[in-house]
Subunit: 253 residues, 2 copies
């Protein structure tokens, strides 16, 4: 379908969420699970309608950020999926991949529907959690950390940030992320816990899990995780649910 | 998008799966999780591309089957989502809702892509499990059981079938299914276990979990479940993965 089909289809419910996923697939499933978990529902129609593109062939985000000369940028492929989701009825977009948010401006430049930014959702979640100041440990991909995707806006909001160092990335975070992409959760979990613990040892009051594979690989219902971790995927689910509630209220649904 | 846009879009990968979901939403997430679990993947692009419509406002399937005079049939709403998925690039369809398969003929009559039937996938899984004869307990919705969705084809294949009786449905299966639709897994699990145990007590060699909420509410990795239960959702994931492998082999992907 071509992007010339704007405006968005009129036969979809106005609370239909679009998910630009597959980066990776398990992180997308994690977002969908968390959207269900944050939705109080007595029966099927209480849930939010969702259209998902889980496309694991989007060009690699970390490689494109770190070495743009040698690697395709993902923005064109993501825009193509964005347009399909809108044509299929999505009225708001989310993208459960932190690194892909480097191309957020390109993805939203001519976007006819709202597109919730994962970092903004996370900043709102921090405030909801009572964490309106203090020191945050930052985990993520090498690209998320090098490009300060979370660090710049969080420092602007008055937080002190400690980004994971090379040793934490090499020994715990990177192998943990790769294992989640291979669906090896049991292997990934102890490594990801050690990455969080390393950030706490370095003085973090809480740790932002700034790569969607990380909360997908940790048992986020566990009291340890709920106490020490901030989950951008759950924050995105909360923000999407709040958007849908606003639409339902405005439209009398 | 109108169904007049056939043939399917040429810019999607030929191994793109479409999921007609939201009946209910957690069962859809369960299918997506199981598709990931059955896919051997070293990195994102090894996974299968998927487009999902999770639409919880499809008219109620059980009510439509049991009292078609008073309730809207779901087929038109499902067909509309089917067409959107195909327009968005889906090259094969699955529907993680057993009851909705009553309308399978209507849904596939003019469908330009393959549409894997959940009961056929389950029958294949039985054979793969070495269960090519014997007695099967059948759990499901009131509609699935009354309409013999599994019973008729399984009896044709030579199985003896015992469908859940009213007491099992009323005390265990129906409240368990409803709790899964409310995301109350911890409450649902003991009820669903008792439903399975009741069928084993009645002489079943294995129990077919013929409503997608049931395996979504049971820990299917548990040795007890793997020994006694047959999971149509996992069977559907296996069949979808096999379809994608065939396409990849044929297209040299």
């Amino acid at each position: 379908m071509a992007a010339t089909d704007w405006p968005v289809s009129v036969d979809s419910r106005p609370d239909t969420l679009g998910v630009l996923g597959g980066m990776g697939p398990l992180a997308t499933v994690d977002l969908l699970s968390k959207l269900i978990a944050v939705t109080p529902a007595k029966q099927d129609p209480d849930h939010i309608p969702v259209i998902v593109s889980s496309e694991p062939h989007i060009p690699r985000r970390v490689a494109a950020f770190l070495d743009p000369e040698k690697n395709d940028a993902p923005a064109a492929a993501i825009r193509a999926r964005r347009d399909r989701l809108i044509d299929a009825g999505a009225r708001c977009l989310v993208m459960p991949c932190n690194t892909a948010h480097y191309w957020y401006d390109e993805l939203t430049a001519d976007c006819p529907v709202p597109f919730i930014h994962i970092v903004h959702a996370t900043a709102d979640e921090l405030v909801r959690r009572g964490l309106s100041s203090g020191t945050l440990g930052l985990l993520g991909t090498e690209a998320t950390l090098a490009g300060k995707l979370f660090e710049t806006p969080l420092v602007e909001r008055g937080y002190r940030c400690i980004a994971a160092d090379d040793a934490v990335m090499r020994e715990f975070a990177r192998p943990g992320i790769d294992m989640v992409k291979q669906n090896r959760i049991a292997d990934a979990e102890p490594l990801l816990r050690r990455a969080v613990d390393a950030m706490l040892d370095q003085g973090a009051d809480a740790v932002v899990l700034g790569c969607t594979e990380i909360p997908a690989g940790l048992p986020m219902q566990d009291p340890w995780a709920r106490k020490h971790c901030v989950d951008p995927t759950e924050a995105l689910a909360q923000a999407a649910y709040a958007w849908a509630c606003d639409v339902r209220a405005a439209e009398g649904l």
